[in-house]
């Protein structure tokens, strides 16, 4: 018995030593940052805890990171960010930042809701912000976006572009937030042409669904095979597979959160942009200027918090007629003439 245990231990030790050696060899090459900062925020620290997808999703997390880095550059704050391996670690990062006395702590994504609730309650003197959901604590700013409005517009564009009357949607994790995109998109597509078929698929029901480009791609292929010519993704880095499928087929994907038009120029019809970067930057700015307040802040079409992306990469695939039409729809939504269904209104409040 003693022998068996010892051999198990040495087995594990071997694996660990190899890992450590590996990490040492590479870790030594890492650069240290020695930047001199200037601005009103010098001496302040903002910590951002990213969502499971991690940096490199060319979307949600990259935007939050961009907002933080802009604040470092323009305001001089010290930027810190963490990438938890899994949801269970979210709370650890948040608490760690709070204990270090950071001036603002941002939780990125609805998956962090309970973690932020918990930690914000424990540290009533610290300032928190959360993206994509509402935390009702006095020291938490809840930054939410009217995704359904932006999704309505890209749905309308998809429906105008497809020649088959069919469009697709690939969601990441099957969750209320992603249904908000889906419902808005479907409504936009059907507004332009009530006969539009909208195929809907989800990568999965676990957080891993936001980083599975293999399934993202095969779901998109399956929708293209059924005749869709445009597929909108709201799936984090799983969406990279959707864009790849569109490029391969010579058809169109629609990007999400960030402007992803450049990822495959000509194959990305447009992107449903969601200015997470602006939300993060503004909140840090408020802290720096002593104007931070807890509570709900909504970003919608009216203040360009959401929208569709138009740039040199997709100017050729969006015709002037499409542009005119979508601009008109945008005006109607802003004025209240068109009311886009908010998925959250259709479910019990607890579920969002």
């Amino acid at each position: 018995m003693y022998h068996a245990r010892r051999s198990t231990v040495s087995g594990i030790a071997l694996v660990l030593v190899t890992a450590a050696a590996l990490i040492c060899i590479i870790g030594c090459g890492k650069k240290k940052e020695t930047e001199v900062r200037q601005g009103p925020g010098v001496g302040m620290t903002a910590g951002v805890v990213l969502s499971v997808g991690g940096l490199g999703d060319k979307s949600f997390n990259d935007l939050a990171h961009a907002g933080l880095m802009k604040a470092a550059k323009d305001l001089g704050i010290r930027p810190v960010y963490g990438q938890p391996e899994q949801m269970a670690e979210d709370e650890k990062y948040l608490r760690d930042y709070a204990e270090q006395g950071f001036d603002l702590i941002v939780g990125v994504g609805f998956l962090m809701k309970t973690a932020v609730e918990e930690v914000a309650g424990e540290f009533p003197e610290s300032r928190f912000a959360i993206i994509d959901c509402i935390v009702e604590e006095p020291n938490v700013a809840s930054l939410v976006f009217r995704e359904h409005e932006g999704s309505f517009l890209v749905g309308a564009l998809a429906s105008m572009k497809t020649r088959t009357g069919k469009v697709g949607f690939v969601g990441g994790m099957d969750s209320p937030l992603i249904h908000r995109f889906e419902v808005g998109y479907t409504e936009g597509a059907k507004y332009v042409n009530p006969d539009t078929d909208v195929f809907i698929a989800y990568v999965g029901s676990h957080t891993g669904a936001f980083h599975d480009p293999v399934r993202g791609k095969s779901l998109a292929i399956s929708q293209f095979d059924r005749g869709a010519e445009v597929v909108f993704h709201a799936a984090g880095s799983s969406g990279n597979g959707v864009i790849d499928a569109a490029a391969e087929r010579g058809l169109y994907a629609i990007g999400v959160d960030a402007n992803q038009n450049y990822v495959a120029p000509g194959s990305v019809l447009t992107s449903m942009i969601k200015r997470v970067d602006v939300a993060v930057f503004r909140t840090i700015e408020e802290v720096v200027h002593g104007r931070f307040k807890g509570g709900l802040r909504e970003f919608g079409l009216a203040d360009d918090g959401v929208g569709y992306a138009l740039d040199e990469h997709n100017r050729d695939v969006i015709t002037p007629e499409m542009l005119a039409r979508v601009e008109e729809l945008k005006r109607k939504i802003v004025s209240g003439e068109i009311r886009v269904t908010d998925y959250y209104d259709t479910i019990a409040p607890d579920e969002s």
């Binding site: 022998h3 087995g11 890492k30 991690g54 060319k58 698929a201 480009p213 779901l219 790849d244």
Partner: protein, 296 residues
Amino acid sequence: MGDSGVALFFMTLLVSTLRKATPLILASLGGFFSEKSGVVNIALEGIMLFGAFVGAVVAQTTQNPWLGVLAAAGVGGAVAAIHATASIWFRANQIVSGLGVNLLAVGATIFLCEVYTGGQRSFMLSVSEKLPRWGPFLPLVYIALLMVPVVYLMVYRTRQGLRLRAVGEHPEAARTMGVDVQMTRFWAVVISGVLAGVAGSFLPFFAGSFAKNMTNGLGYIALGALIFGRWTPWGALAASLLFGSADALQEMLQGRGGVPSQFFQMVPYVLTMVALAGIVGRAIPPRALGIPLRKE
């Protein structure tokens, strides 16, 4: 759906099934080598993840996807050698050692990806960095199918194959006959890693990008396919195709008829569990599976 609609549906299903089955076939054949020699290999999952990452990085840095596949094979073999060393000479618990590799793979690939990309956890491959398509499929699909008879012949029709089976069934007898049990097992596990590494490299070449933990449990499903296939190459092929078709079907059925997506997503996993629970018949593992050879 008219007649042509039905035909199209089945064509799509067939293509998708083969694509889904490819990494499963390669990895389960890998598992076959290891387990047939008597070493449990749940490290397939982690080895695939290493293969996916290294394959994508090498393809991108050299602009040659074939070198990526080779590198994935190499790193797969190297990582498997860790598991082999721990299991064979240190007589570590093979499940624990395999799990160690899997945990290491998740952490190490994320860390290395951040180093490679400057802080990101996924990156995309351009067209020239992906394998070319041969007809409807990537070359690895044909290679996977070809490997089935090759592995069969290697294990059941060669002298080395006989030794491999002998050390998995009755290592003491094999040793008496002069077979170096430990080295035979070592190489079997390394070959298993080579195949699993190649299986992993299929993922970024298909998806056009690497993302953290992109294997998402495929290695475990491959192990399920091996067991479901009763530890034979043909059985592993059949089981991989079955799992692949279940997965392809769930993707094609999603969003139809107002059934929640979770219902279809569950199908492949339920099937795996049914397989593993042995409802389809009792599978007999190699007799010495999981038991390290005692010193004389």
